[in-house]
């Protein structure tokens, strides 16, 4: 074998390890499942939105609206009286509908009198994730097409109505119902925008803390092994629980410090992007002091759970290189709930998705602020309890591992060294 071939063979043998492939396989699987989800979303987006119509006007322009809606949406409720609004909303709720559109009784006459025609829209919002607003976006698109069609109709009829009304002949009077709250003057899209600008900070910080502090814990364990200090540590008169908790607490302090630094920068950045706290307070979409304390507790418990998990992974690290590989699953577990909670609301996830997200302890602080704003204390407190149980169980497993041979031997299997080879080696040794 040539020298190059010899080196290639050795390098391949060294590099083709499960540690090299497992992360890539996981990434491929995640992309695959993401592709599947996107397909589902595309299918959902292609479906006509489910709506209800109350047409009080029944004249030329309102009929354009009615025809457009009936052609492009699935209409599950139809009426001509605004007295039926409540019945319409109930029907839409039962049928997973998105919006009840009420065409004002003076719709056509207002437009012909150079005023914008009123469309009252009662939105039924299911979730505050970006993807949750797909169906309402469908209705939004339909409404803009209706505007264009009425404009065309007005232009064709050579009307003398002023240009601003012709270009935008309708105006919306919107009310959104979401998690038992009524938001007058807001559409689902604007609520999603407001909430996401407010609740983006915690998921990002949580993810950063987990990745940074988790990396510290895993590396710390790996370095104890690589620098051969672990054996000494284990023979000192110190309880295993003290070793484990000492490492976790130190990493948590560093993680929180890093988070604090990160949070200062991020909050300034997000202040520039958000719609301002006054708008949020107007609709009571802000956390009070008690809420912030609960989010803090949730964040702390999730951090301890994350670090306990990292410590568990760290016990498998043999050296610094393997520690880098072991941080990958934790990074993924931090990224998955961050993206999911940004794109979808916990309530609108399928059952399997809910179980998956709930099972990841890092999800809970990411969901906590939004849940608290809408009074879903059960989700928040059960999340805190779950994170605490997860942390206790994981720490117990780590302490158990520290009390077994595995922490030093790594594996219970060892290669047998032949007797003759031992004697030969011994004989060859010079002293």
């Amino acid at each position: 074998m040539s020298a190059v071939g010899n080196i290639i063979k050795k390098e391949l043998k060294e590099l083709l390890t499960p540690a090299t492939f497992i992360p890539i396989i996981i990434i491929a699987a995640i992309y695959g499942s993401m592709g599947g989800s996107i397909n589902e979303i595309q299918k959902e987006a292609a479906e006509p939105p489910i709506i209800g119509i109350i047409n009080e006007d029944n004249s030329s322009l309102s009929n354009i609206v009615n025809i457009m809606l009936e052609t492009n949406a699935k209409v599950v409720f139809n009426s001509t009286s605004s007295d039926d609004i409540e019945v319409g909303l109930e029907t839409l709720n039962e049928q997973q509908g998105v919006a009840l559109i009420v065409i004002d009784k003076n719709f056509t006459s207002r437009i012909t009198n150079e005023e914008k025609g009123n469309l009252e829209i009662y939105w039924i919002m299911k979730g505050a994730g970006v993807l949750d607003s797909i169906s309402s976006s469908g209705v939004e698109f339909l409404l803009s097409v209706i505007n264009t069609n009425i404009s065309e109709q007005l232009i064709k009829s050579n009307t003398s109505i002023n240009a601003s009304v012709i270009l935008k002949p309708t105006q919306r009077i919107e009310t959104t119902y979401f998690k038992g709250k009524e938001f007058k003057g807001l559409s689902p899209n604007s609520i999603v925008n407001m909430l996401s600008s407010q609740s983006i900070l915690i998921p990002i910080i949580m993810m950063m803390i987990i990745i940074m502090a988790g990396g510290i814990v895993i590396t710390s364990m790996a370095l104890e092994k690589e620098n051969k200090t672990l054996e000494t540590l284990l023979t000192l008169p110190v309880k295993r629980t003290s070793i484990v908790s000492g490492k976790i607490i130190a990493s948590a302090i560093i993680g929180l410090l890093l988070a604090l630094i990160y949070m200062v920068g991020m909050s300034y950045y997000l202040q520039g992007l958000s719609q301002g706290s006054s708008v949020l307070s107007k609709y009571n979409l802000v956390l009070n002091t008690q809420g912030f304390i609960i989010v803090g507790i949730s964040l702390f418990m999730a951090l301890i759970a994350a670090l306990a998990l990292c410590m568990l992974l760290g016990t498998f690290a043999k050296n610094y290189k393997s520690a880098q590989t072991l941080t990958f699953p934790v990074t993924m577990l931090a990224l998955i709930p961050m993206f999911i909670t940004l794109f979808m609301d916990f309530d609108t996830l399928p059952l399997a998705g809910k179980i998956f997200i709930f099972a990841i302890p890092f999800s809970h602080p990411m969901m906590a602020s939004r849940a608290l704003i809408f009074g879903d204390y059960t989700l928040v407190f059960s999340g805190i309890a779950y994170s605490a149980i997860f942390a206790i169980v994981t720490i117990s497993i780590v302490v158990w591992i520290f009390n077994t041979d595995r922490i030093l031997t790594g594996s219970t299997r060892r290669k047998r060294v032949g007797r003759s080879s031992i004697i030969n080696r011994f004989k060859l040794r010079r002293f």
């Binding site: 023979t235 000192l236 008169p237 077994t404 299997r413 060892r414 031992i422 011994f426 004989k427 002293f431």
Partner: protein, 238 residues
């Protein structure tokens, strides 16, 4: 008084028998050497006695404490120096000694321990330098200082002079010898037969997880008509 009493000790790693029913005793104040080739089971025995590996069967008593039941008590009495041990690289030599001393006692005694560790390590001003700037010899001296500064009742030293030059090895041997005079019992393993002859009061020859011979170095050389312990070992494992 018996410092270590090992009876029918067995250690298995899965299906591999690393230690096969070995028995030996080490008396208080004695330097006892475990001698054998790589893979013979020396380090496994030392790790078991140091409380970091579990026994598969048999029993080990350290100063009458049962290893399986009283490992926390035993850890207060022993000090273990692994063969290829290191120290925390971001700490200075003195800080490392301080870190270890704090596990044993608080207050005034901690300070005494550190000063003793500094004295044994004998690194001069370099004790205030970061550990990652130390040579292999300096690191080993620091670790020997760490192991002996606490006045352990039992010091377990795995290849204490491994990888050291003649001068450094000789100095460490002197330190070990002096330590027994202060009442510490030493259990060590070594490949260096000269070191074994010079240091140990008694030795046990271990091969493939079994103790094949025990006795005083001079008595064993006489028994096998050998010039040195290496020849004794070769004769025994033939």
């Amino acid at each position: 008084m018996v410092a270590i009493e090992v009876k029918n000790l067995v250690k298995k790693y899965g299906t591999i028998d690393a230690v096969k029913e070995i028995s030996f005793t080490v008396n208080n104040g004695e330097i006892f050497g475990l001698i054998g080739p790589n893979g013979a089971g020396k380090t496994t025995v030392l790790r078991i006695i140091s409380t970091i590996l579990h026994i598969t069967s048999g029993s080990v008593k350290i100063f009458d404490y049962d290893l399986s039941k009283n490992s926390n008590e035993i850890r207060k009495l022993i000090s273990y120096l692994p063969e290829d041990a290191g120290a925390y690289k971001n700490l200075k030599g003195r800080e490392y000694l301080q870190y270890i001393a704090r596990f044993f006692d608080g207050g005034k005694k901690t300070h005494e321990m550190i000063e003793k560790g500094v004295l044994i390590a004998d690194l001069g001003d370099r004790i205030n330098d970061r550990v990652d700037t130390y040579s292999k010899g300096m690191m080993r001296r620091l670790l020997v200082g760490r192991a002996l500064m606490i006045d352990p009742k039992l010091a377990i030293l795995d290849e204490p002079t491994s990888g050291l030059d003649v001068i450094n090895a000789q100095e460490i041997r002197k330190i070990i010898k002096n330590t027994t005079e202060a009442g510490t019992t030493i259990l060590l393993s070594s490949h260096n037969m000269l070191e074994v002859e010079l240091l140990c009061d008694r030795i046990a020859l271990i091969d493939e997880g079994k103790i094949v011979e025990t006795g005083k170095p001079k008595d064993l050389m006489k028994k096998y008509s050998a010039k040195n312990i290496e020849e004794v070992f070769t004769e025994v494992v033939k």
